[in-house]
């Protein structure tokens, strides 16, 4: 448990450093999702960093693709590729694109255009179910992202096909680029919407808490006839004092002084 917290802290530090070096990127929504990613990659998913295309691996799709720095830091931490790559995020000729692409080991689906990753994850789960494969598909959505129409097309399809081998997370940090999600285009109540679409819905009061996430995943696993979604209340910019709950930190890189301050917060 302490171990996961230490790993999450290191991942947060790598997120801040890589976005700082790139002087561009999305720190807020990367930092809010760290516990979800850490728990999946360190405790839940059957994956092999040395064999990223392993046939029966569990799949992960970062549908909120702008949180790529969080995924990259997690994958590097797991050993999918050398950590030095994080220093070249968003640079010409480098591997790590602004949003996930299939050129990065461990990335199961290119994402970035919101909503599409969710739809592709439904396709993956459908493929697994059709072939009787035991692996599971996990997908992470943003709360602003669920304003996209394709999300609800895919939500309908996942329950229509009874994809209990699919688990979604909504990173409900309450902020999108233009402001609070409830002000821009109110998606609430998120849980009731998914319920109405036939999903097994689990509310997670603190999506930055490993125990709560773990307990929610246990509930998800107990459901064998529907896809499950964990609606996770999180803090945008979590762990960096001046970024927490600040909409301005959705999509800009910190300057060197800010990086230094952030790393002190994450010491």
């Amino acid at each position: 448990m302490e171990d996961l917290k230490a790993i999450a802290k290191e991942i947060r530090r790598d997120i801040v450093k890589s976005i700082g070096k790139a002087a561009s990127g999305h720190p807020g929504g990367s930092l809010s999702a760290v516990e979800i990613l850490t728990l999946l990659y360190y405790e839940k998913m059957n994956v092999d960093p040395k064999n990223p295309k392993m046939e029966d691996r569990d799949r992960f799709v970062l549908s909120k693709g702008h949180a790529a720095p969080a995924l990259y830091a997690t994958l590097a931490s797991k050993g999918y590729f050398p950590k030095e790559e994080l220093d070249h995020l968003r640079q010409v000729g480098a591997m790590l694109q602004g949003h996930p692409s299939m050129h990065t080991p461990g990335v199961d689906m290119a994402t970035g255009s919101l909503g599409q990753g969710f739809s592709t994850a439904v396709g993956m789960a459908l493929g697994a179910k059709h072939q009787g494969a035991k692996w599971h598909t996990y997908v992470l959505l943003g709360d602003g992202e669920i304003e996209e129409g394709i999300v609800w097309e895919a939500a309908m399809a996942a329950s229509n096909y009874g994809l209990s081998n699919l688990t979604a997370f909504v990173d409900n940090n309450n902020l999108q680029i233009d402001g609070a999600v409830s002000d821009v285009m109110n998606p609430y109540p998120i849980d009731e919407k998914f319920k109405a679409f036939g999903w097994n819905v689990i509310d997670v009061a603190d999506g930055n808490d490993f125990d709560q996430l773990r307990a929610a995943l246990t509930l998800a696993e107990a459901c064998t006839d529907k896809p499950s979604v964990l609606v996770c209340k999180t803090v945008k910019g979590k762990g960096v004092s001046f970024m927490e709950n600040e909409v301005g930190w959705h999509g800009k890189g910190p300057n060197p002084e800010q990086v230094e301050q952030a790393l002190k917060d994450l010491a």
Binding site: S113, T120, A121
Partner: protein
């Protein structure tokens, strides 16, 4: 001679392929009866997935399932597939070079009665600009089957453009289709008519008419729009000195666009474009609509003379 629509040939051939290859699965968007994937559904109900009326998700699911070892064929009308779901095809299929076979029916004006909202005259242009994408337009039932075979041999995205209207079979059963190769259907030295889809038959008719008037017209089937046969285009320009393109598509961005882009890099040559002239279609019987917009053998023959006059 029995007429058969390319959508019909597609639907029937899918069943044959499905028997041979258990990895083939089909996605449709509540149009199975019209796209003819209903034949596949009847034979393999558990391998036919209906996305409902949700083309974006149809393409997204096809992208996802293609990463699980299955080979998806994704079908809907061209206007909804290439049009509405364009950006899903771009970002979730082409960007990752996924092995998805997009077979869209009801392309072009020959949709007929459903009218301008349903007549896709821009799908070739939309699909052609996408990196990694292959774009094939069969002239008839025979070529439909050959192009599907070719698509199955390509580990990457393919777009096959199919039509609603039943048309004559113009190619022999032993016809060979090779991606990136134009096929010369008639030799000629005064002008080259480059055609795709149901305009191939009209191009052959036009060439016969021209022959009677002493004009020797070469006819090329340009069914492989991407990759396109640059050598055949260049040779046509050099050897015949005049070109006509004929397509059931906007004159912007489709076959005419591809041919002119090639010529701009190689050989100066007059080109006359037979196609839809930057307008939307309208309701009517398919053949009457085609005639209304000048997609006829007569119009191709006139265009050929005009191209020759510009030499």
């Amino acid at each position: 001679m029995e007429k058969i629509a390319t959508r019909e040939a597609y639907g029937k051939y899918l069943v044959e392929l499905g028997k041979k290859n258990p990895k083939i699965v089909v996605f449709d968007g509540d149009l199975s009866g019209a796209t003819k994937t209903s034949y596949f559904r009847a034979e393999f109900p558990d391998r036919h997935f209906n996305a409902g009326i949700a083309e974006a998700d149809l393409m997204g699911m096809a992208a996802g399932i293609s990463t699980t070892g299955l080979i998806p064929f994704a079908s809907t009308f061209a206007i909804f597939g290439a049009g509405r779901a364009f950006e899903i095809i771009r970002n979730s299929i082409c960007y990752s070079n996924l092995n998805v076979n997009i077979c869209c029916t009801h392309a072009g004006l020959s949709v007929g009665e459903d009218g301008g909202s349903h007549q896709s005259i821009e799908d070739i242009a939309l699909m052609r600009v996408l990196p990694n994408m292959h774009v094939f337009v069969p002239a008839d039932a025979v070529e439909t089957r050959k192009m599907i075979d070719a698509a199955l041999n390509i580990d990457g995205p393919c777009y096959i453009r199919l039509c609603r209207l039943a048309t004559n079979v113009v190619l022999p059963e032993d016809y060979e289709f090779v991606p990136g190769k134009a096929v010369e259907l008639k030799k000629g030295s005064d002008v080259t008519i480059m055609a795709i889809g149901l305009m191939v038959e009209r191009a052959l008719e036009a060439a016969e008419t021209l022959e009677k008037e002493g004009i020797s017209a070469r006819v090329l089937n340009m069914g492989s729009i991407k990759p396109i046969d640059k050598a055949a285009i260049e040779a046509a320009a050099k050897e015949t000195g005049a070109i006509v393109t004929a397509e059931e598509h906007s004159v912007i961005g489709g076959l005419a666009g591809a041919v002119c882009e090639t010529l701009a890099e190689t050989t100066a040559c007059p080109v006359e474009k037979v196609g839809v002239n930057d307008v939307f279609g309208q309701s009517g019987k398919a053949l009457e609509v085609l005639e209304h917009y000048g997609l006829t053998a007569e119009h191709i023959a006139e265009a050929a003379k005009k191209a020759i006059s510009r030499k």
